[in-house]
Symmetry: C2
Subunit: 320 residues, 2 copies
């Protein structure tokens, strides 16, 4: 008694429901078959439904008939002939929209604009990008580089869909959804001959309070050396060097020590030792993938976050 074949007088829901503007399908099918009855069968409707659809369409179009009613079937009038290409272009557009939206929904299409801070580009982002692109080749990914506050602003303004940020910048993060990627431990780079080089386990930053520092900026606030302030001393910056490779050179030459975020610490020259820093206060700075709050993530965004997470756990740590 359940699955009878007839199922009369019930609305069968549209199986594809591709924005189906009913009259459009009716019109095109009728124009294809030259018959209301045949078109109705093809559409799974009744003949009366088709008749009324066409009828009301004609009425809406100013009363001009679209079909000549012949004894056997119908034939397009001039007005109908005019309408056909437009109807087809509408169907084309709707079908195209459906296709692209489906691709977007399944993460196999669309656009993904993301930004990342510079050190994330050392290993995390390239790995994630490679994995994501291999999995979702149809997504057009664009990348921007910038500091966390700037990235967050562009996120809010709608110029970015996702940003890889860190908590360094003291920026207010309440307006964003944060997808935790990793807790980035800090390392201090010292010359291989440094007394602490052989030290087992993490070192307390306070033990380097008297050292000369190589840093990206003169003032520690807002940079990595912020951690030194938290450790209770104001570091003396001996040299301002931005690039990590260059920093290594300064450190190796014994001109000072430098703080290195874990993400940048992939390759170290043998005459430099990396010591994990014991951060007893707040945990080491965290790295997040941020999206604007309240927005649902697209499949592409989800996939990219997943790729970032995988990359985060696969990024080699200098000292296990």
């Amino acid at each position: 008694m359940s699955s009878m074949a007839a199922m009369p007088n019930t609305h069968q829901q549209p199986p594809d429901a591709d924005l189906s503007t009913v009259w459009l399908r009716a019109f095109l099918e009728v124009s294809r078959y030259g018959s209301f009855t045949v078109a109705a069968r093809a559409l799974g409707w009744t003949q009366s439904a088709v008749s009324r659809q066409i009828s009301s369409l004609e009425a809406e179009l100013g009363g001009a008939p679209l079909f000549d009613r012949l004894p056997r079937g119908v034939r397009l009038t001039e007005a109908g002939r005019v309408l056909v290409p437009y109807a087809e272009s509408v169907v084309e557009a709707l079908r195209g929209a459906g296709r692209e939206l489906a691709a977007l929904r399944e993460g196999t299409g669309g656009r993904l604009r993301f930004g990342a801070f510079a050190t994330a580009d050392a290993a995390l982002v390239p790995h994630a990008l490679a994995a994501f692109h291999a999995r979702s080749p149809g997504v057009r990914v664009t990348r921007e580089e910038g500091f966390t506050p700037a990235l967050l602003e562009r996120l809010t303004a709608g110029h970015l869909d996702l940003a890889v940020v860190s908590t360094t910048g003291h920026a207010p993060l309440e307006a964003y959804t944060l997808h935790h990627l990793l807790d980035e431990s800090l390392y201090v780079a010292v010359p291989a001959a440094h007394p602490l080089a052989g030290h087992p386990g993490p070192v307390r930053l306070g033990r380097l309070a008297d050292a000369e520092w190589i840093s990206g900026g003169t003032r520690p606030e807002g940079t990595l050396l912020d951690a030194a302030l938290r450790a209770g001393f104001r570091p003396r910056v001996a040299h301002v060097v931005g690039e990590w490779t260059a920093k290594q050179g300064y450190v190796a030459a014994g001109l000072g020590v430098a703080l290195v975020p874990a993400l940048a610490a992939t390759a170290v020259r043998p005459d430099v030792a990396l010591l994990p820093v014991l951060d007893d206060g707040a945990p080491a700075r965290a790295v997040y993938a941020a999206t604007v709050r309240g927005r649902a993530l697209t499949r592409a965004e989800e996939g990219f976050v997943a790729a970032l997470r995988e990359a985060a756990s696969a990024v080699p740590r200098p000292m296990a």
Copy 2:
């Protein structure tokens, strides 16, 4: 009490009703204004209507939201951004269809394919065409030439919209709507020196039973000389000449006499006399504008038939 400003709780009918796919207009207005409420005001709807339109549209599209709901208004999601150009192209197509159909409806656009038999092209059709083109310059008119039976066949097959035909061909005319243009009287062309040249009033065809005839074909059946058969004699065809100008030369040279349909008798050389033929049987052959039966005439067709009628009454008759 009549024209209150509010008019609440009543369906206001769409003023343009341009195939309005409701969700489309809602979506585009919302995407333009970034607000359901403002879009609703612009559309003359309530906010709840817009909200539900967008909501069901999103549901139909697989559940992907098209807008991010922000505390103040909304903003397009990636999915919405993808949909916009498609929606615009659909609106474009619908608007274009509306424009072209309106032009068609008012006779200022569209296509008109007609055919006419050769002698109608002497004066009737050119006059009508000129008048019609002056009145409806937007209509693309194409012309074919052919004999009545062939024209009617092409009409039935849908290759022509209208045909200027005559009753000569004994073709079955029941399948067509005939718009009477004129009753074409016959003339007989004789040399100016012919004994009948000065005859007052119409002549009976039988008086030329012994004459030599100039005709378009050897056998009278199906041609103008059919009239001779109806008059009770079989004309002797002395020369076969198709073109009216050439016929005139043969007649002027005294090589015979020729039948001339009124439509072809616009210009006669002075050494040829045209005598109206008294046709006592069926009235002289009629000329019609034929359309397929059951089809409603477009405005352009109506206009063209009117132009043909005017031309028919304006065509100069050799002898009033």
